[in-house]
Amino acid sequence: MRPPELRLRAPTPGLLALPWDLPLAQWLMPDVPLRDVAVGPSRHLVKFVDCDGALWAVKELPPRLAVREYDVLRHLEELSLNAVRPAGVVVQPDFGTALLVTRYLEGSWQYRRLFLRLPPDQPRQRDRLYDAMASLLVELHRHGVFWGDCSLANTLFSRDGQVLQAWFVDAETSEVHPRLSDGQRELDVDILVENVAAGLDDIAARLGRSAELRATLLTEAIDIRRRYQTLWEILHSEPVFGFADRYRVEGTIRRLHELGFAVDEVTLRPSGTAGNDLRLHVAVGDRRYHATHLHALTGLDVGEGQARILLGELHAYQVQLSREGGEDVSETTAAQLWLREIALPGMDRAHAAVGNTGTPIQAYCDLLEVRWLLSERAGHDVGTEKALAALGHNVVPTDSAAKLVVVETPTEPFEVVFDEDFEDD
C-alpha cells in the first residue's frame, strides 16, 4: 500500500486526522465529521468536513487536475482575488485519485438562496448579483485569469454593504496567463452569459414562474455582457487630453475611486497625434480604495462596499463635530471618536437587532441604509431607534440591501443547511 502524499497549508490536528488513505466515497459519519451542505451537483464527488473550527470542502479529482487547481487557487490568493482559499491537496496513489481541500467561505451562500428566501421577482436584488459577477470576472481578467466555466453554481456570494461580492469557487477549467487576449475575455464572457442564463432559467422554472419572467431573466443574463464591458472600458480607457486640460485627469481618478479602485500610477505620454495632446494611462490597483482608507483611520477590516458606507457616516460625523466645536476637526480625530462613540456601540445593537445573523459590520451597514431610506420617505431623520426596530422585524424596503439579511446563514454557521423547497431529482 502506497501512503497518500499530503500537502496541507495549515496542518491542524483535525485535518491531519482525516482518513486520507480511504477513497472519499468511504468517508462516513460518525467517523468523519461531515456536514451536509446543499451546493448543487458537481462534476466530482465533494464532501464537507467540519473540524478545527472551520468548514472544509474536499473534492475528489484526477491528481493532475487537483494539483493544477490547487496551484491556480494559490495564485489567486497571492493576487488577493475573490476566491476560495486552497487548504491542501492529497494524492492517493493507490486509487489514482487526489483530494483537493478548500476552505468554505464563511458567511457566503449560493445564488439560489436569493431566490428562495425572497419574494419572487426582485430585479433590484438580481441587479446586485449581476454586478457582483461582472465585477468578479473583470477582476480575474485584469489579472490574467481565464475562468472557462463561470456560472452561478460556481460562485459564492457574500454581502458587502449595499452590494454583493462574488467569490470564485471552481478553478478546474481556469488558466493563468500574463495577459488575456480580447478573444479569451470574450469567450469567458460568452460562457458566463450562457451559464448564468441557464441557472436563472432553472430557478424560474422551479418556482413555477411565468414565461414572461423567464424571458426577462434571459435578457438580464445577456445584459451582464454590457455590465462587464462598461466596467472594463472604464478601467482601460486611455483618454487623450490637451496638456492645458490635464486637470481632467483628476476627474478620471475620482471616478475610479468612487467605484472603489485604487490608482497605482498615472502616466501621461504624448499621444502621437498633432499638437501637444497627451494620452492618459492609469495603472488601476485593487478594488479596496475605501476599505484601505477606513482601515488606516480606524483599524477596521471590512469589505469595500461596507467601507464606502461607513466612511460616509464617518465624514458626516466629522462635519457634525466641526460644527458643534466651532472649528475643523481632522479626519483622524473624527475617526477615533466615531469608532468609539458611534460605530462600535452601533454595531453591537444592530447585530443584536437581527438576531446576531451575519456580521456586526454588515448589520450596522444595514441599519444605516434602513435609517437613510426611512428618513428619505419621511422627509426627516427618523433616528436610530426607529431604524433598529424596522431592521429587527425585517420591515425594510424590498429593494434595499438590508432585505438580504434573510439569505445569510443562521446563527450556528455549521448547522445542517437545507435549501427548503429545493430537492434534486
Binding site: 460562457i191 441557464a198 432559467d201 422551479r206 434534486d424
Partner: protein, 394 residues
C-alpha cells in the same frame, strides 16, 4: 465552405520565444485534421489562433476564404467542442442542446426543434431527449455536449485534447463517437492531441509539430511508412521505431546485429566512414522459423540473443540488445530527449507472431524485411531513403 488556410503563422510571446514558428497549413473543407506533437510543440497555440483566443503575431489565417486575424471568436462561426461541457442538470437533454440556440434569440421554436432533433438523430440520442443528465451514462453525456456544438451549424469543429481527462474505456468510446460524427456530418475538424495513437486512428491527415515547427503533414499511413525525419519516425508508431547505427561498407549495409546486401535505392548514399541511423519498425522483423523460403530470400536472416519477451495476446515483442559506438549513443540520447521518451536503450524491439516460440534468454533466428529499412542522416535527421523512394513513386 469551410476550408481553413494558414499562411506563415507566427506566435511570439513577450520574450520573443516563437511558440509557433512560421507554419503554413491548408485544411480542406470536410477534412479531419489532427495536430499532434509532444507538449510545448505549439499545437494548442495554433488551435487557439484558429479560434481567436490567441492573437496572431504575423501571418494570415483564412476561414472559408476570408481573412479572420482580427475577428472575435464569436464571429468566426467555429465550435469548440467540449469547451463548456458542463451540462445543465435541471434541463432535459433536449433543452440542454437547445439552450444556446434559445439564448441567441435568432431562431424560432420550430427551427430550434428541427435542429435539435437532427442532432439527436446523428448522435443517437433520440430516446434520451426527455431525460436529465444525471440519468445518463458518461458517454451519453459527452454526446449531449457534442450536440450543443452540432446545432450551432458551425463551419468547423475544434477539439483541444478532449479525451485527456476521461478514463481509458470512455476515451476509446468517445474516440469512436467523434470519428463517426465527423464522417456523418462531413464538417471540417481540427483536433489537437499529444497521443499519437489517437492521431493515427482519427485523422484524414496528421500534422506533426515539434517546437513550433511543422515537421510533416500527411495521411497516417504516409507518416508511418515514409516519415520525413527522425523525429516523425520516432514519434509515430507504437512501439516506436528502432534506431541503430548503420554503415555502408562496399556492397553491404552493416547493422550491429547483421549485415545486409546493399539495395539499389541506397547506392547513392555513399559509403566509407559515414555512419547513418537506420530506422526499423518492430513489425519489419519476424521469427525466421515462421517465414517460408521464398520470402526469406527477399530479406535477411540472422541469429541473436533474446533478452526479454512480452507476450500481449495478439502480438508479442522480443528485446534484443546490441553494442553501439559512443557517438551514436549520444545522438540517440538527444533524439530520445526530443521525443519526450525515455532514454533509448541500445536494444531493438522485435515484433513476433503470437505463435512464435522464441524464448527469453535464448538464441533465436530473426528475419528482417530489408526493404523497410529507413536510413537517416545523423546530423540533420533527414530521411535519406524517403527522398529516394518518394522520387521513385512520384
Amino acid at each position: 465552405m469551410a476550408e481553413i488556410s494558414m499562411r506563415n503563422i507566427v506566435k511570439r510571446y513577450g520574450d520573443g520565444y516563437p511558440a509557433v514558428n512560421d507554419i503554413s497549413l491548408d485544411i480542406a473543407d470536410g477534412e479531419f485534421m489532427i495536430l499532434v506533437g509532444p507538449s510545448g510543440c505549439g499545437k494548442s497555440t495554433l488551435l487557439r489562433m484558429i479560434v481567436g483566443l490567441e492573437d496572431i503575431t504575423s501571418g494570415e489565417m483564412y476561414i472559408g476564404g476570408k481573412l479572420v486575424n482580427d475577428k472575435a471568436p464569436r464571429d468566426r462561426n467555429l465550435a469548440m467542442v467540449f469547451q463548456n461541457y458542463a451540462l445543465y442538470p435541471h434541463l432535459t437533454v433536449f433543452e440542454n442542446i437547445a439552450f444556446p440556440l434559445r439564448l441567441s434569440g435568432k431562431l424560432s421554436d420550430a427551427e430550434i426543434r428541427s435542429r435539435v432533433e437532427d442532432a439527436a438523430r446523428t448522435l443517437e440520442l433520440q430516446e434520451h431527449l426527455d431525460r436529465k443528465p444525471a440519468n445518463l451514462s458518461g458517454g451519453q453525456r459527452q454526446r449531449v455536449a457534442m450536440g450543443r456544438a452540432i446545432v450551432r451549424q458551425a463551419d468547423a469543429f475544434l477539439f483541444d485534447e478532449p479525451l485527456s481527462n476521461l478514463d481509458a474505456k470512455l476515451r476509446g468510446q468517445m474516440r469512436t463517437e467523434i470519428l463517426r460524427l465527423q464522417r456523418r456530418l462531413g464538417v471540417t475538424t481540427v483536433y489537437v492531441t499529444h497521443d499519437q495513437t489517437e492521431a493515427m486512428t482519427l485523422g484524414d491527415r496528421v500534422a506533426v509539430l515539434k517546437k513550433g515547427v511543422l515537421q510533416q503533414v500527411a495521411s497516417p499511413r504516409e507518416l508511418y511508412e515514409n516519415p520525413v525525419n527522425l523525429f516523425v519516425a520516432g514519434f509515430i508508431g507504437s512501439p516506436p521505431m528502432n534506431f541503430v547505427p548503420a554503415r555502408i561498407q562496399g556492397d553491404q549495409l552493416e547493422l550491429p546485429f547483421v549485415s545486409v546486401p546493399l539495395r539499389p535505392e541506397w547506392e547513392h548514399l555513399g559509403g566509407g566512414d559515414t555512419v547513418f541511423i537506420a530506422g526499423i519498425r518492430p513489425g519489419s522483423f519476424e521469427d525466421a522459423t515462421l517465414v517460408d523460403a521464398v520470402k526469406a530470400g527477399r530479406g535477411a536472416t540472422f541469429a541473436v540473443d533474446v533478452d526479454v519477451t512480452e507476450w500481449m495476446g495478439n502480438e508479442q515483442y522480443a528485446f534484443v540488445p546490441y553494442d553501439a559506438p559512443a557517438d551514436i549513443s549520444a545522438q540517440l540520447a538527444r533524439l530520445a530527449n526530443d521525443l519526450d521518451s525515455e532514454h533509448l536503450r541500445t536494444q531493438i524491439c522485435v515484433e513476433l507472431d503470437p505463435a512464435s516460440q522464441v524464448a527469453p534468454g535464448s538464441r533465436a533466428d530473426i528475419w528482417l524485411d530489408t526493404s523497410r529499412i529507413h536510413l537517416f542522416d545523423p546530423r540533420t535527421g533527414e530521411n535519406l531513403t524517403r527522398t529516394a523512394s518518394a522520387a521513385a513513386t512520384a
